[in-house]
Amino acid sequence: MIPLEPVTGHYVTLPIDGLDHRVYFEQAGRGIPLLCQHTAGAHGAQWRHLLGSEEVTRSFRVIAYDLPYHGKSLPPQGREWWAEEYRLTRDFLMQVPIALSRALELDRPAYIGSSIGGHLALDLASHHPDDFRAVVGLEAAAATPGGYLDIMNHPRVSNAFKASLMYGLTAPTAPECYRRETEWVYSQGAPPVFKGDLYYYSIDHDMSDEELAAIDTSRCAVHLLTGVYDYTTPLAVAQATADAIPGATFAPMEGLGHFPMCEDPERFIAAILPVLEKIRTDRSTP
């Protein structure tokens, strides 16, 4: 028999905003729980390389979930979602990892996310610092206006447009097979989902300098990393966001773009291991 990968998938029902959301997640490893949030319009398969990394899973229980409406997490019953335009809000998005953490009885997990997931890292640190021991924001910024565009869900344009744009957000030095895999994942999203997620990315996520300055990194550590090829979150924007948070760390990632965890996993894991080690050994956060 061919050995199975040590990654298991499960469904769990999360009560959010009065509805039951049946959410799919995959997990591997043991140790500190690490909740992994995918990018807008995608799903948890973006984290498959972290799930498969023994260097990571020997100390971390990696948990990659699909947001409702994404991947294997279908839209909820009890709501006529087909009669309205899908739109992801900050308040809903924040509830997903918190509800998942409670459902799995996790002890102050660490959190990592990219793009909308990176932005969510900042919102979680600001609004729910006692639920997480640390957050890692990839491609995170205080705000990224201008992305909530009608062209991202237009009847005359197929999903191939969005997917192709995402290929262009990867680094040209990344392995071609993984750039294409990143593009493929994007082509799988239901037509309204990417634009709906960008509502959070470009409208609902909008943090002031005062809000960033008020984040207490002694309660929830904040680590930000940004790929130098990510044109939606230029390095200077990401750096300014990190600088506004007392105690936050920041690192540019050479040779990576907007999807570090899936466009060049080897390079990403080399970049993230020191951050994970810091989370593992950090005794300053309760």
């Binding site: 344009v157 997917a163 192709s164 262009g168 040209p172 773009g257």
Partner: protein
């Protein structure tokens, strides 16, 4: 320096481009500094390339300075030059204001840029 004749052969032989450009009937104008060329596609085949005026009518255009084109077509583009959509946002590259003009065929446009880069590297 790009050999437009050889580029046409390359484009029409490229399976990825042919798939991305299926059913595409359009004229594409490439403005490279002060030199413009108009490429005509018929059902996804590149059937004609000719010099044209900078304001010649077209369905889609990509306009940039010679320096920006050099960056766009580099073997390993510098950050934010790896994609014309991104280069439009952060560098001096111009695309039609209404993205509906090119969105459906953006995968074809992106592949064409790669083929142009390859043609330039090979000195065609």
């Amino acid at each position: 320096m790009i050999s437009w004749t050889e580029l046409a052969d390359c484009v029409n032989r490229d399976s990825e481009f042919r798939y991305a450009a299926r059913f595409w009937d359009a004229t594409l104008r490439l403005d490279i500094g002060s030199a413009s060329h108009r490429l005509r596609f018929d059902a996804g085949s590149l059937v004609d390339v000719a010099p044209c005026e900078a304001d010649a009518p077209c369905d889609v255009f990509v306009s940039a300075s010679e320096d920006d084109w050099r960056e766009l077509l580099a073997p390993v583009p510098r950050p934010y030059y790896q994609d014309v959509f991104g280069a439009q946002a952060l560098h001096g590259v111009r695309l039609p204001e209404d993205p509906l003009a090119y969105a459906a065929y953006y995968p074809a446009l992106r592949r064409l840029m790669q083929l142009l880069s390859g043609a330039r590297q090979e000195g065609r």
